[in-house]
Structures are given as structure tokens and as C-alpha cells.
């Protein structure tokens, strides 16, 4: 059982979980840069901008870690496809272009 065998899965699950977290507001926490406050989950504005990026990264990291640990026993007998490590992140990066199209089409 080698941890390195799940590195591709980690990248794939992070990309998916991070994208979902951002789109469906499943951030673990939010940050209010004007006041320096953190709050759990999606937070409303407190008289200034709210940052969800850190929280979305945390969500992606936790999801990727859990999925990787869960998959670890299965890698004893079979190996995961290598394309998971680059194909899924690439697909998510392309998807982000679509999700953010509103910025460029106004």
C-alpha cells in the first residue's frame, strides 16, 4: 500500500470538490478581510467584501484527503488510472472558463 498511488485521485477529487464548493457555496469557512474575521460556511457580508476562496480550498482539500484515504486499501490490488491526475483537473479548468464566462460577455 503506497500513498503515492492515490495522488492522481487526490488531484481529481480536489478539482471536483473545489468547483462544487465554489458553485454551490459549500465553503468550509468564509473570511471577512475588512474585519479580519472568519466564520463557518457561507457568510453574508458584514459591511465589506467576503472571501470564499480559502474556504473552498479547505473544502476541496478535506474531500480529496478523505477520498484518497478511503481509496488507499483498494490500491493494494489495483492501480488507479493515471489520467485521473491530469484529465479531471483539466476538465474542471475548462469548466471554470464556462462558469466565469459572464465576466467576459457583459
Amino acid at each position: 500500500m503506497s500513498v503515492t498511488k492515490v495522488f492522481g485521485l487526490f488531484a481529481a477529487v480536489f478539482a471536483i470538490a473545489y468547483t462544487i464548493a465554489f458553485e454551490w457555496h459549500w465553503e468550509l469557512f468564509s473570511y471577512h478581510p475588512r474585519t479580519g474575521e472568519f466564520g463557518w460556511g457561507q457568510q453574508a457580508s458584514k459591511g465589506g467584501p467576503v472571501m470564499h476562496w480559502y474556504g473552498a480550498i479547505a473544502t476541496g482539500f478535506v474531500a480529496a484527503l478523505v477520498a484518497s484515504l478511503a481509496a488507499l486499501p483498494f490500491t493494494k490490488t489495483r492501480s488507479l488510472p493515471l489520467w485521473l491526475g491530469w484529465g479531471v483537473p483539466l476538465a474542471c479548468i475548462i469548466l471554470w472558463g464556462w462558469l466565469l464566462r459572464g465576466f467576459f460577455l457583459r
Binding site: F7, W53, L82, L100
Partner: protein, 154 residues
């Protein structure tokens, strides 16, 4: 302090860009003979760049994350008021791509661990190319945003 960190962030990005571009050229367009400039540029031991690339990526990312709040307060707010949506979108895309790229780094390390392993040749090329495009895009997008309202944007 933010200006100092922003400059450090930019300098590290330059180092990252150099290493990653070198590696990408070497793996996507390999050559054995180091005759002219382009051949010499590609004829490097690409695997030796891996740890430096990972280190610079993480350091640049962390510095970017540290200076993100001042950007969010002083710069992005101004960009939105000026209705420069495409500029804001450039940065939005940068942050998403870089976060996804960050999680690819362990896999990137894995595919470069043994550069003679032919079973990973395709994954090695794709991973390196994707990271190279992410870093180049982010560098240019960051530069544009900085030119719009970066240094002393408070």
C-alpha cells in the same frame, strides 16, 4: 508591507515560470544535442527541476494567498466600481486554475519521480503542460491586474 510581498510574489512567479517552461520544453520537445540556443534550452535534465518547481509553486501560492485580502478590499472593489468585468474575470480564472494546480503537485511529483518510467510518459507530458499553461496564464493575468490597479492601490 503588501507592496514588498507583492514584489516577492512576482519574483517567485518569475523563478517558477522559468523552471516550469524549461521542464515543459524538455519533456514536450526533447532533444539530445545541445547545439544552438533552442536545442540547449530543451536539452536539460528536466526531472531535476521538479522539486524546485513544487517549492516555488507553493511559496508563490502562499504569498498570493497572503496578499489576497488587500487585493480584495482595495483593488477588486475599485475594478468592480470601474466596471472592468473582464479584468476581474481574468483574476477570478487565475485563482481557480491555481488552486486546482496546487492539488496537482503531488501527482506532478509522482510522474517525475522516475523520468525513465515510460508508463507515465503521457501523464508526465500532460501534467507538466497543464501546470505550465496555468502558471503562464496566471503570471500574465496577475501582471495585467497589477497594471490596472496594483502597487499602491490602497
Amino acid at each position: 508591507m503588501t507592496t514588498f510581498l507583492l514584489i516577492m510574489h512576482g519574483l517567485m512567479a518569475v523563478a517558477l515560470l522559468g523552471g516550469l517552461t524549461h521542464q515543459a520544453f524538455a519533456v514536450l520537445w526533447p532533444t539530445r544535442a545541445a547545439g544552438g540556443f533552442t536545442s540547449a534550452y530543451r536539452a536539460v535534465s528536466a526531472a531535476r527541476f521538479t522539486n524546485a518547481i513544487i517549492t516555488f509553486y507553493v511559496m508563490t501560492f502562499v504569498l498570493g494567498a497572503v496578499i489576497y485580502p488587500p487585493y480584495r478590499i482595495a483593488v477588486r472593489t475599485w475594478i468592480e466600481r470601474a466596471r472592468l468585468w473582464h479584468i476581474s474575470g481574468l483574476f477570478e480564472y487565475k485563482e481557480q486554475a491555481l488552486a486546482i494546480g496546487l492539488a496537482m503537485l503531488p501527482f506532478f511529483w509522482l510522474v517525475w519521480r522516475n523520468p525513465k518510467d515510460e508508463s507515465m510518459a503521457s501523464a508526465r507530458k500532460w501534467t507538466t503542460a497543464i501546470l505550465c499553461v496555468i502558471v503562464w496564464y496566471s503570471f500574465i493575468a496577475g501582471h495585467i491586474v497589477n497594471n490596472v490597479r496594483g502597487l499602491f492601490g490602497q
